[in-house]
């Protein structure tokens, strides 16, 4: 059954960061910055290509001989290509954070690591959940669950725009054949107490990436400043593959489509988000997360506390999608999540003073 859900979803872009990645050599980003850019002659895309064409029965071999149009990347190859590209730039390649969140920015690898003096370069895919954007699988462009590819580099390198454009070439978008532009789009996350300046990047009029120089996170000034790139993977793939419906995306180059994997989930989660999510339980959960977050902060466990902040934020998004939060209450809920985020960020930066192991004795 089709329905038009309420569309006023907050731009709840928040991010998180992975503390495990600390193992990564902090100098990696410096080395990367000094390195010459990816050579034009050998874009990473060419590596991924042969595999695709080999396994794809439909691609006739003779046609590939000339400098014909390369086969567009399937969805998973797009991800692999971006990962390879940014790994070559010195980023640690992380896995998605194992929690529901509205945007890759909520990942601790971004939110927490954007703070502080230590250099940091990471790239990862993050499933992003926007409960209010569910369309029961009927809208060709809108999903309540989709993927972002997130790159965070601190300090921002000398020419991040050039690096970014190289990454577009790697996935088969030739800036010489398209109209690529950087259009003002200042980013602000009221839930994270974060803001930055940058652009949305347009490719022939389509926004494919958000590009942000973080100025503040959790109400704390970013110094040095990190640059964040957020690729909308489905949009990019639709562009590269020339599809008008996200569900028609070629996922693996072997006949599996995006629809095969995600359509049923979109239908079911839309019903969950708009009709079935238990609002009483959600209200309780919000309060519980808030309480737990504060308790963990008292124990100086910054990242576990931040997990609860992420959970509170997603819980709020679900309540919002269910339409049970009034306009005036909304601001108050966002303020409560922001207060948690702020405390978590401050705790993250607090001088390390390992919590006492009360189990030891």
């Amino acid at each position: 059954m089709a329905r038009a859900p309420k569309r006023k979803t907050p731009k709840n872009k928040a991010k998180a960061k992975v503390s495990k990645a600390r193992a990564a050599d902090p100098r990696a980003s410096k080395a990367r910055a000094a390195k010459p850019r990816v050579s034009k002659a050998k874009p990473p895309a060419s590596k991924a290509k042969p595999r695709v064409s080999k396994t794809k029965p439909r691609a006739p071999k003779p046609a590939r001989k000339a400098a014909a149009k390369p086969t567009p990347l399937d969805f998973q190859s797009l991800i692999l290509t971006l990962q390879k590209f940014w790994a070559d730039q010195g980023c640690v390649i992380l896995q998605p954070y194992d929690m529901e969140m509205g945007a890759g920015t909520f990942h601790p690898a971004t939110t927490l690591r954007a703070l502080g003096k230590e250099p940091w370069s990471a790239a990862y895919v993050q499933p992003s959940r926007r409960p209010g954007d569910g369309r029961y699988g009927e809208n060709p462009n809108r999903l309540q669950h989709y993927y972002q590819f997130q790159v965070i580099i601190k300090p921002s390198p000398a020419d991040p725009q050039a690096l970014y454009l190289e990454s577009l070439k790697a996935i088969g978008i030739d800036p010489g054949a398209h109209d690529i532009r950087f259009v003002e789009d200042d980013w602000e996350s009221p839930t994270l107490g974060a803001w930055g300046l940058g652009w949305e990047v347009w490719c022939d009029g389509m926004e494919v990436t958000q590009f942000t120089y973080f100025q503040q996170v959790g109400g704390i000034e970013c110094d040095p400043v990190a640059v964040e790139l957020t690729y909308g993977l489905e949009r990019l793939a639709m562009y590269v593959q020339g599809r008008e419906n996200v569900f028609d995306l070629d996922f693996n180059g072997r006949g599996v489509t995006y629809r095969d994997i995600f359509h049923r989930a979109e239908v079911e989660y839309s019903a969950h988000n708009f009709e079935y999510a238990d609002t009483d339980l959600l209200f309780q959960r919000f309060v519980a997360c808030e309480r737990e977050c504060n308790a963990l902060l008292a124990a100086r466990l910054a990242q576990p506390a931040y997990d609860q902040c992420i959970k509170a934020s997603h819980t709020f998004n679900l309540l919002d999608a269910r339409g049970v939060i009034s306009v005036t209450e909304r601001a108050a809920y966002i303020g409560r999540v922001r207060a948690l985020a702020k405390l978590c960020c401050e705790a993250w930066l607090a001088p390390t003073n390992p919590p006492t192991n009360t189990h030891a004795g």
């Binding site: 038009a4 309420k6 569309r7 006023k8 809208n139 060709p140 462009n141 809108r142 300090p155 921002s156 390198p157 000398a158 020419d159 725009q161 800036p175 010489g176 054949a177 398209h178 109209d179 690529i180 532009r181 950087f182 259009v183 003002e184 200042d186 930055g196 300046l197 940058g198 652009w199 490719c203 022939d204 009029g205 389509m206 120089y213 100025q215 970013c222 110094d223 040095p224 400043v225 640059v227 562009y239 008008e244 009034s326 306009v327 005036t328």
Partner: protein, 691 residues
């Protein structure tokens, strides 16, 4: 004479900030040069997405030399003072000092010539100061850099007559190297002077002059449109924005998919403009055509084919959303959306939008009585429905379509046309240059919406202060003023405010009501002054009419101002004004001298001069005429009656000595002068008139 070329090359500058940035750069550097004694013969600034450029010509080679003087002790002062002076001034002996005669005696002076600094050195300081204090509306830091700029900075070119001035800012030292178009000519370009810079950049696919880009965009788009029998819809704001998004504009035309052409034109235009920055095209009848104009920043070997295809695809996905909303929204009537307005807060203390809709409905019905051609029933209906589209999906996605969608949905519900049009018109005028509603029902609802907001926010003491006007009350007041004046509505504002306040029920205590109404009227007076000042009406004339007391009928007010303007421009008027001031001055001076007030009854016998008696008679005569004229709002007639005073007044001043030697005639004559003022002040307070 030298030329200065300055280019600040950065990552993309937001389009909306470019024009002001160019002006600020010109101002900061221009003022710096002037203050440094280096006035340029000409100074121009240019701006584009990645660069801010300044060229100044005719600069001197160096600052003029200056003489520095230091005053020393008096001749014959103690040795210690003399030695101190010589040391401080850097003189070897008193022979090097001058002696000067001053009123207080003879003093030593040390005079030294300070050679002017070379222009290059001064320019370096000026430019560095300008960059360091640049007033971007929003600026940022990047990497480790403590400096701020609008976006990360990549290079500075600063050349004075062929020589690099090594300006340093944000870790960058200026040179002579810039870059061309990001994709079409990314290599380094060495430049010598402005002419060389402009030519080389043009060859590198960068047009640095925004005026040239704008011209190229509009003429090329127009040509493309005309070739298809279409024309581009004027959109100066969009043109300015797009000009700031491209260095090498390449206008192209794309096609709107036929599947979307049944969606209202405003929706298509709004979706194209707001999200995609496309220009709308119209056919011969002014109807929206199925083509759009997009301005790329790129020349491609396929002549833009891929770019057009990409843009068409994006537009299809945008419009499929819009079409979905259009179909969905029409499944419900506007009226059925009213309960939804209860979830929308107008203002915490002022209730929900539903409450507001009810108040607007009642107020519009009340106001309909003052709008010829409207009727209370339709005004009430339109008022009730005017906010209902806020809960539609379309307005949720495209807030700028509020009202416009309400009209479409109302027509779909078979509401009367006047009602539907009033829903669309009631937000107008949105800006000082936007047009006002003309249709009667629209006028009633537009006024009701504004009065309701103004009265409500004043009642809870949320008045605009300084630059803060979060509820756009100044705009609302100005809008109301314009609607009333442009439609010549005979509407007494105070009773209307009173009725509107009644709509808020218990919110305001009865005792406080009058104060709210007064404050609001004063607020209107200020807005009216500002409005008339913008229209070139002399503010002193406005003040002169205002000083007559509370006038809450704007049309009558303007009639007075107009009549007064015509009068003071006339010969009689100008002359009388002089007499008025002369009379006022004399009375003021004498009153001060005597510590008395000269006003009140005048015994004719005391005047003691025929010219004085004649003047008194003339005043008495015109007072009656003026009062009668004012009563029937014949302001021009009232002014004309005043003109009858001119001759008697002139004759009085010619022949009669005001400050007579005898106290009785003096007092009577002073009272007569007061009476001239009083007579004239019936029409307007002439003491406020300047010039």
């Amino acid at each position: 004479m030298s030329e200065l070329l300055l280019e600040i090359f950065s990552e993309e500058i937001p389009a909306r900030m470019q024009k002001q940035a160019a002006a600020d750069l010109g101002r900061l550097v221009g003022e710096g040069l002037k203050a440094g004694g280096l006035a340029a013969r000409s100074l121009a600034t240019l701006v584009g997405p990645r660069r801010l450029v300044l060229v100044a010509d005719g600069l001197p080679k160096s600052q003029p030399d200056t003489l520095e003087e230091r005053k020393g002790p008096q001749v014959g002062a103690p040795e210690l003072a003399i030695q101190g002076f010589l040391k401080a001034a850097g003189l070897a002996s008193l022979d090097q000092a001058e002696r000067r005669e001053l009123p207080k005696g003879t003093f030593y002076f040390a005079v030294s010539k300070k050679p002017g600094r070379a222009t290059a050195a001064v320019v370096k300081d000026i430019v560095e100061a300008a960059l360091g204090q640049f007033p971007w509306p929003k600026s940022m830091r990047w990497a480790h850099n403590p400096a701020r700029w609008v976006r990360p900075l990549h290079g500075i070119v600063c050349i004075l007559e062929g020589e690099v001035v090594p300006v340093t800012f944000a870790g960058i030292t200026a040179g002579a190297i810039t870059r061309g178009h990001r994709f079409l000519a990314p290599g380094a370009i060495t430049v010598k002077n402005f002419a060389d810079y402009q030519a080389k950049l043009r060859a590198a696919f960068v047009l640095i002059d925004p005026a040239e880009r704008a011209q190229l965009i509009s003429s090329t788009l127009a040509k493309l449109a005309v070739a298809e029998g279409l024309r581009v819809k004027d959109d100066a704001g969009l043109l300015a924005e797009v000009t700031g998004l491209v260095e090498w504009p390449v206008p192209l035309l794309g096609t709107i998919d036929a599947a979307f052409m049944d969606v209202p034109a405003e929706v298509l235009t709004s979706a194209m403009r707001k999200h995609q920055k496309y220009f709308a095209l119209t056919d011969g009848d002014g109807k929206l055509a199925n083509r759009f104009g997009v301005v790329a920043n790129m020349a491609t070997s396929d002549r833009g084919k891929a770019i057009i295809a990409g843009n068409e695809r994006v537009l299809r996905s945008r419009l499929s959303d819009a079409k979905f909303f259009w179909v969905q929204d029409k499944k419900r009537t506007l009226e059925s959306r009213l309960p939804k307005l209860e979830e929308r807060v107008f203002q915490a203390k002022l209730g929900t939008m539903r409450d507001k809709a009810d108040r607007i409905a009642r107020l519009a019905a009340y106001l309909a009585a003052y709008v010829p051609g409207s009727n209370a029933e339709e005004a009430h209906r339109a008022g009730l429905l005017c906010k209902a589209d806020l809960s539609s999906d379309m307005v949720g996605e495209f807030p700028d379509l509020q009202g416009i969608m309400g009209r479409y949905y109302a027509l779909h519900d078979y509401e009367p046309t006047m009602v539907a049009n009033a829903i669309a018109d009631h937000y107008a005028p949105l800006g000082p240059n936007e047009s006002c509603p003309k249709a009667p029902v629209s006028i009633a609802v537009a006024c009701a919406d504004k009065i309701d907001s103004l009265v409500g926010f004043f009642a809870i003491d949320e008045k605009p202060t300084g630059s803060k006007d979060p509820y756009a009350l100044r705009r609302a007041a100005l809008g109301l003023i314009r609607i009333v004046l442009e439609n010549k509505l005979r509407l007494a504002l105070l009773p209307a405010f009173g009725f509107a306040l009644g709509g808020y029920g218990e919110l305001v205590r009865d005792s406080a009501r009058e104060q709210v109404e007064r404050e609001l009227l004063e607020f209107f007076a200020d807005r009216l002054k500002a409005h008339l000042r913008d229209k070139g009406v002399r503010h002193d004339l406005v003040a002169a009419v205002f000083a007559r007391g509370d006038e809450d009928d704007l049309v009558r007010f303007m009639a007075r101002v107009d009549a007064l303007a015509a009068f003071v421009k006339s010969d009689d008027g100008a002359n009388l004004l002089v007499a008025y001031r002369r009379a006022a001055n004399i009375v003021r001076i004498e009153e001060k001298k005597d510590g008395a007030v000269y006003a009140g009854e005048i015994a004719e016998a005391d005047l003691g001069a025929p010219e004085a008696s004649a003047l008194l008679a003339a005043i008495a005569a015109i007072e009656t005429t003026v009062d009668a004229a004012l009563h029937r709002e014949g302001f021009a007639a009232a002014m004309a009656a005043l003109a009858d005073l001119r001759q008697p007044v002139d004759r009085f001043f010619d022949k009669v000595k005001v400050n007579a030697d005898e106290p009785a005639p003096r007092a009577a004559r002073l009272r007569l002068l007061s009476r001239i003022q009083a007579a004239m002040d019936r029409v307007a307070d002439f003491s406020k008139i300047e010039g």
